[in-house]
Each structure stands twice: as C-alpha cells, then as structure tokens.
Symmetry: C2
C-alpha cells in the first residue's frame, strides 16, 4: 500500500509550503491544485468554477451559486457529483504512488490508507504577516479585513471537512501532529518534520 501524508492547514499558516517541502524531502508526489484540475477535467467543468464551489464554501448555497454561473437543470445534483468526483480523484492519486496531499478532506477520504495526518496552524499576527508577504493585493486590506478573510476561508475548510466526516476540522484528536508555525522558518522546520514523518511511516507500516 502507498504511503500517504495529508496536510490540513489554516489559511496563512504556511501549511502548503511545508507540505511541498516535505514531499520534496521525502521524494513523494505532491498534490494540491492538481486535484482541482483533475476534477474539472473529469466533470467537464471550468477549473475556476470547480474551485469556487469546492474552495469557497458554497456547499450551503448550491442553487444561488450555480444559478449565477451556469444554467443547469439539476444544480444540486451537479455539486454532489463534483464532490464524488473529488473523492474518486483523491483515491486514484493515492493509489498510484506515495504522496503528500494538501487539504480537500484527504485525511478523511483516505482513512483506509492509514495516512499520517498533520494539521498546520499559526497565531493570527503570524498568519496576517504571511498573507501580506505572499499576495500583493492583500497590501490594501486592513488587518481587520484580512482577519475576516482568513476566518472565512478557514470556515469553508471546516465545513468541507464536516461534510465528509462529521468530525470537527482542526480538533487535535483527528491528527497525528498539530504544528504551530509561528516564529519558525518553514525550510528548517520541514527538515525536522521530514525526520518525524520518516519515523511515523516506519513505525506504522501497512
């Protein structure tokens, strides 16, 4: 069976970079946006539309969103289909080779693979700083606006997770390791995290 590491992360915590570095250090495949692309291709839908539905929290608002984007006869069914396709895509990717998967509820979807589940988080000032340095457009937002944006994205991730598992996103009981990146250089942290992942994968052989 393939070795799977899932990274769940708060927006602005550096989880994506940490996941990418971890994959590189271990020689594992890395999947993030690749999943959106594959869903779009399989569903014959526009990538940005798939991303809107899956990443921006419109699970509770199917008709409205779909109605504004496309004209469909059964919008709710389409969204459910998209979520099923997402599940299938993640399963297919995980079966192919050892990999690190960021987000998308992979920790729940791939439960049978006995994945190493890592949650990455950070203190709010640290997340604000990372958001500002990463995205120039964020320069124009006040701290308050940025905090609102961060919370909104995290709420969506939480909702997505709850839809799949019923369990609460970010509750440490659902993860093997929860790591606060505040005050740490991600490059150096990824070296230690790689050692930890090697140990965990070695001691939890399938």
């Amino acid at each position: 069976m393939t070795k799977i590491i899932t990274i769940s992360r708060e927006f602005g915590s550096g989880g994506r970079e940490l996941g990418k570095r971890l994959a590189d250090n271990l020689g594992f495949a890395y999947y993030d946006r690749e999943i959106i692309d594959a869903i779009a291709e399989k569903s014959n839908l526009d990538k940005s539309y798939v991303e809107t539905v899956l990443s921006q929290g419109n699970f509770h608002n199917f008709h409205y969103t779909v109605g504004r984007t496309f004209s469909m006869s059964t919008p709710l069914q389409s969204t459910v289909d998209m979520l099923i396709t997402e599940r299938n895509v993640i399963n297919e990717l995980a079966t192919k080779q050892d990999c690190v998967i960021v987000g998308r509820g992979a920790d729940v979807i791939l439960r049978e693979f006995n994945p190493l589940n890592i949650f990455v988080y950070a203190d709010m000032p640290s997340k604000i700083e990372r958001c500002r340095s990463r995205t120039p457009k964020n320069e124009n937002l006040s701290d308050r606006q940025l905090i609102k944006e961060i919370r909104k994205i995290d709420k969506t991730r939480s909702k997505h997770h709850e839809l799949l598992s019923g369990a609460k996103w970010g509750d440490k009981e659902n993860y093997n390791l929860c790591i606060n990146t505040t005050g740490l250089q991600l490059e150096k942290l990824s070296v230690v995290l790689t050692q930890y992942a090697k140990l965990w994968l070695e001691q939890n052989k399938k």
Copy 2:
C-alpha cells in the same frame, strides 16, 4: 533568560516519559514530582496531601477535602496559599536553569519566559494499553473503569489549567506543538522531538 519547555499531557499518553527523555537529550533539568515536594516543604504540609489537593481535582471542593484530611480554621485560604506557593516554586525553578517542566500549568505560569509549550496526547486504546503496562493495579480494572479514571484525571488537569489561565487545556492554539503518541516508540520519538525543540529554541531566542 533560561530556556523553558513545558509538557502538558493527557493521562496515559506517555508525556511524562517523553518530557524526561527530552530533558536528558537536551541536558536540561527535569521537574515533575519535585514541584509537589517543594510545595509541601514550603507550606509545611504532607506531600500526599499537597498532591491530593493539586493533582486530584479538589479545587471545587475545598471544605470537604480539607475537612476530612485535617482540621483547619480557614481551609479555602490554605488551598489558595498552596496554589500561590506552587506558582512561586515553578517560577523559582524556571529562573535557576534551563528545564523541562511537566504539568502544573507551567505553560501559563511561565508565560513571561516565552516557553516552548508542547501538548502530548494519544488515542484511548493506546492510553489504556500504556496504563495497564505501567501500573499493575490497573490490571484488575475493566476498560470501562480505566477510561473513567483517565477522563477523571484529565478533567482535573483541565480544571487546574482553567483556574490559572481561563484558557482551555488541550486547545491547540495554546501550544506550539501537539503530538499524538499513538503507534510511536517514545524513545525514537524523543530524538525527533529534541531536534524540533533545538530548532524552536534557536529561532525564538530571548
């Protein structure tokens, strides 16, 4: 300023052993029961009494406990004194030398030292197994009784923490790292944890 690592842990998670190994690996002092001993000495009270009050959750039940153990004129005041002594003892120990402190709300009490705060937890079956192997008397308890005991002790730790900080014990936001020991050998895990602690202490110099 001294370097401080605090370990908060669920009962049966192996947090104490992990803390001891971490201290040994780093060449730091290690404080656990030493704190109870020092409080008893300073308060001129029996060690087991101090432990009962501080470790077994009688914060909500001052009169009853003290009434059964000693005859005191102001039992509530004595318990408050004991908690103040605990705070002072922990501060004194932390000022003396680099150390790992297990439990006792040290993560909150030593906030000014900017400690590295680690929370150690585990899945329930793993905690039951560790409790059985560690304490022969637990052999006679059913799983259900043992789970009840584990939850009771953790509830006390949670109450102690809440009393000191108002913040919830075990909420990942209050820690730098939360580590689930399920399926991991503590000796090997402590090696990786030592690397992490060195990195954190290096990057968060005071």
